[in-house]
Amino acid sequence: MDNYVIKTENLTKKYHGQIAVDNINLHVPKGKIYALLGRNGAGKTTTMKMLLNLLRPSAGKVILFGEKDSGFGKRNYHRIGSMIEAPAFYENLTAKENLEILARLRGRHRQDTIENALFVVNLDWKSKKLFREYSLGMKQRLGLAAAIMHEPELLILDEPMNGLDPIGICETRKYLLQLCREKGTTILISSHVLNEIEQLADVIGVIHKGALLEETNLQELYRHRRNYAEFEVSEVNKAALILERMFSISDYAIMGGNKIRLYEKIDKRAAINSSFVKEGIAVEKVSVSAGKLEEYFTELVGGEGIG
């Protein structure tokens, strides 16, 4: 038996003939943080909704907790916490009252469950403030409290950092990491904020125009992709000689378009630049590789248009 908490087989969703999610085969390993990356409208939320049975798949199937033949059982909801898109609660109720409804509907909870959940997300459980008076960040925190309240084995979080202030983002990240590492909670998270995902995810899946382009372990990705500094110079061969003789750099590559890319001693790029200029080499441009994940993501999905 495989060790996936979520597995999908050719999961597809069509709306009026338009394909929103196209034959996706997700593999979310147990006890890991899996980040679903994609541009706006890529199909992340639709996929998550199908996992939660909020949307009926047009084709394919979802296998949760390895229960292949049972379909989506109601009991799965005891094991799953979720937050999809902007958190939605009853606007005429307080945070505590809203969570009380969910706790009652779940049918079993300790007396302090609501209080603890609100404490974790830094919301006052005694507050009489109504949900309609909440800021975006407070709504987001209440959404997270509702998702974690029953200590689920699996968390499905759609853009959970949206609207949070920097401290809120940092605390949420720490809490999710703690949940995963200490309690073994499996987390499926979607986000646009790639540097946030870099600090959080174990595995990433890139989804574009409804299709899952790639699933990869983040550590493996880093092993294969290295940081570099790139110089665009007038004479690449002369520049290469300078790198070898003056800086003892052997790990470099000559690229097309008069570009030379070095993979070691990147921090010496200012000195290298000065040496190039002193030796009469015109330096048109110096750049350092962007965040590894960002670059990988851009390469995969392409960078055209505002997403």
């Binding site: 909704k49 939660l52 049975n53 909020l54 949307l55 009926r56 109601k74 009991r75 799965n76 909801y77 005891h78 799953i80 916490g81 979720s82 999809i84 898109e85 902007a86 958190p87 939605a88 609660f89 009853y90 606007e91 005429n92 109720l93 009252e97 009380e100 409804i101 969910l102 009652r104 509907l105 779940r106 049918g107 109504l130 509702a146």
Partner: protein, 250 residues
């Protein structure tokens, strides 16, 4: 199921719709009594009576105010889940869609009965207050119990004719279309109430059945009752079918 119904009740906390329903249940007996006092002053041969206030109240409740206010309540119970996008939150708990829908119907039934019982309390209170200054006949326990029983029967019949509005709210996922339907139904109630078609128009048939007027016109009781039953079953069944296959988009 008790938890689901209780949660439906919790959701209505601080909700203005409850205030509207509460005021609505009081306004009809009050206005009817004011009108009866006016008639009494112009013709003292027609004294006020508990039965008279009840009869006028039940007519306005069953034909106009009841369908109007309670249909709005029915639509609100469902449409708010779409407008506030809360289905996706409550569906992430281990409760089936059928149970959620049953919870909606049960809370509507409770609210309709509450509305009728509050109206009954108001009829009694106004009659007793009037009896302090005027001669009001039939104020006794038997009459009060009879009127309460009639109000409860009226509530059940009203509920039966309100179920299609739940379906409409599910279908429209908002309030506009159901509110137009409520206006049309109420208008037709007024237009048809005195006509031959009243016995087969479900919303007027409910009033005629309750007051025994349908029985006076022989042969119309069964078709009228069957039409009300059909409307109730249609509202419930269509809602179930619609809700079971629905994608939660919001």
């Amino acid at each position: 199921m008790a938890d689901i119904v209780y949660c439906e009740w919790l959701k209505l906390r601080r909700s203005k719709i409850i205030l509207i329903g509460f005021l609505g249940s009081f306004i009809v007996p009050f206005l009817v009594t004011v009108n009866d006092i006016r008639i009494y002053h112009s013709n003292t041969a027609m004294p006020l009576s508990l039965g008279g206030i009840y009869e006028d109240t039940i007519m306005f409740l069953m034909l106009l105010f009841g369908p109007l206010i309670l249909a709005v309540v029915a639509v609100y119970l469902v449409s708010r889940e779409y407008t506030e996008k809360t289905w996706k939150t409550v569906f992430a708990v281990p409760v089936g869609r059928m149970q959620f829908l049953a919870g909606k119907f049960i809370i509507l039934f409770i609210l309709v009965l509450l509305f009728m019982v509050l109206s009954w309390v108001d009829i009694l209170a106004i009659s007793i207050i009037c009896s302090l200054f005027l001669n009001v006949l039939q104020i006794n326990v038997m009459s009060a119990v009879y009127i309460l029983a009639q109000m409860i029967k009226g509530g059940i019949l009203l509920f039966a004719t309100l179920t299609p509005f739940i379906y409409l709210a599910l279908r429209a996922k908002g309030t506009l279309m159901p509110f137009i339907a409520i206006a049309v139904v109420s208008l037709l109630n007024v237009v048809l109430s005195g006509s031959q078609a009243a016995g087969i128009y479900p919303w007027t048939a409910a009033y005629l059945l309750l007051t025994g007027r349908l029985a006076q016109d022989k042969g119309h009781v069964l078709p009228g009752a069957l039409i009300i039953l059909f409307v109730a079953m249609f509202g419930i069944c269509a809602s179930i079918v619609r809700f079971q296959k629905e994608d939660i988009a919001g």
